[in-house]
Amino acid sequence: MTIWFLIAFSAITAFAFRALPFAFKNSTALTQTQGSFYRFISYSAQAMLGVIIYDTAFNKKDALTLIQQFETLDALKLFLLIGTFIAVAKTRKILPAFFASLFIYVAAFIYLNG
């Protein structure tokens, strides 16, 4: 199978899934933003971001594997993620906390890996 086929398949499915909800944009389920269905979709979207972030930061490890293989850098990742969240919630500014955390992590990685 060629890479071009995979790119085309990915592009078509991405477009289809992005477009699908707009076919129902006038249905009451999607127009009532305080309704249970819309809130369910909205909260599920946030939860999905949380899942993606865990999978990216900790390489999709299950709980047991994470505990067994827990390293200093994993602890630092957790600390920086929580710290970034608190800093942004308090200051309402994204960039300072983002860059500070990224700098600390890269510096720690270089220090720990020589």
Binding site: A14, F15, A89
Partner: protein
């Protein structure tokens, strides 16, 4: 004297500029991410047109990383691609009420811009400002999309010269830091924030239950749970004096 039409145009232009300004905040990680995608494409022997096509036609960082790193796996990737793309339904469904008055042609042409970062930027704004939501989405999304294409190109041209373990380490934390920062912007909307962190905490636990379909199932379990709690809380609040 300023006419109503001029005032509306100026207002639309202002919203677009506000979106473009927010693109600096919401899109900064894209510079690093798409440089990485360009670099990785070069090291994995993709052509420049293939590297650029992934950004131009797909514009989804997890899927692009998967394609570039694992395209030799072939057919086995198809269900994973569908699963990864299915998440866009949630993002589009959440944005749909805000931009439903926009023409179908414009909406279809802008669909590529619906990514988690642009989605979060829009939702954060639409919670307190709902003027010209489509213009804001375009103002926010277009610069991010443009920069991502340019960075894919630069990364590809620079190729393997940039590769180092430190860069790969930074790449693993770029997206998590960006989304966690964006989640911080939702504070004090407790339900959204709780959903995000429950997704994070639930991922390593619910993977035992849902295995490879965890990304598809876990968010709905959490979304449903939060709505149940919220509805129950409201009901009790209504009964209480």
């Amino acid at each position: 004297m300023m006419t109503a039409g001029t005032s509306t145009r100026s207002s639309v232009a202002n919203v677009f500029i506000e979106g473009a300004r927010d693109a600096i905040t919401f899109g900064v990680a894209f510079i690093f991410l798409y440089l990485s995608i360009g670099i990785l494409s070069a090291t994995q022997s993709l052509s420049l047109s293939q590297a650029l096509a992934t950004t131009l036609l797909i514009f989804s960082t997890p899927l692009q990383f998967l394609l570039i790193q694992s395209y030799n796996d072939g057919w086995i990737l198809l269900p994973i691609i569908v699963a990864l793309n299915a998440r866009f339904v949630l993002l589009s469904a959440t944005l749909a009420p805000y931009i439903r008055s926009t023409s179908t042609t414009k909406t279809m042409a802008s669909l590529i811009l619906i990514t988690p970062s642009i989605f979060t930027g829009c939702v954060t704004r639409f919670k307190h400002k709902t003027d010209h939501p489509f213009t804001y989405m375009i103002g926010l999304g277009l610069p991010i999309f443009g920069v991502s294409i340019i960075c894919t190109y630069i990364g590809f041209i620079a190729g393997a010269k940039f590769t180092s373990p430190a860069i790969y380490a930074a790449m693993t934390l770029l997206l998590p830091l960006q989304f966690t920062a964006l989640a911080g912007k939702h504070w004090p909307h407790y339900s959204e924030v709780s959903s995000y962190w429950l997704g994070f905490v639930g991922a390593p636990l619910l993977v035992y239950l849902f295995k490879d379909y965890s990304l598809l199932c876990t968010p709905f379990i959490i979304g449903g749970l939060i709505v149940l709690i919220e509805n129950n809380y409201k009901k009790r609040g209504g009964v209480a004096p």
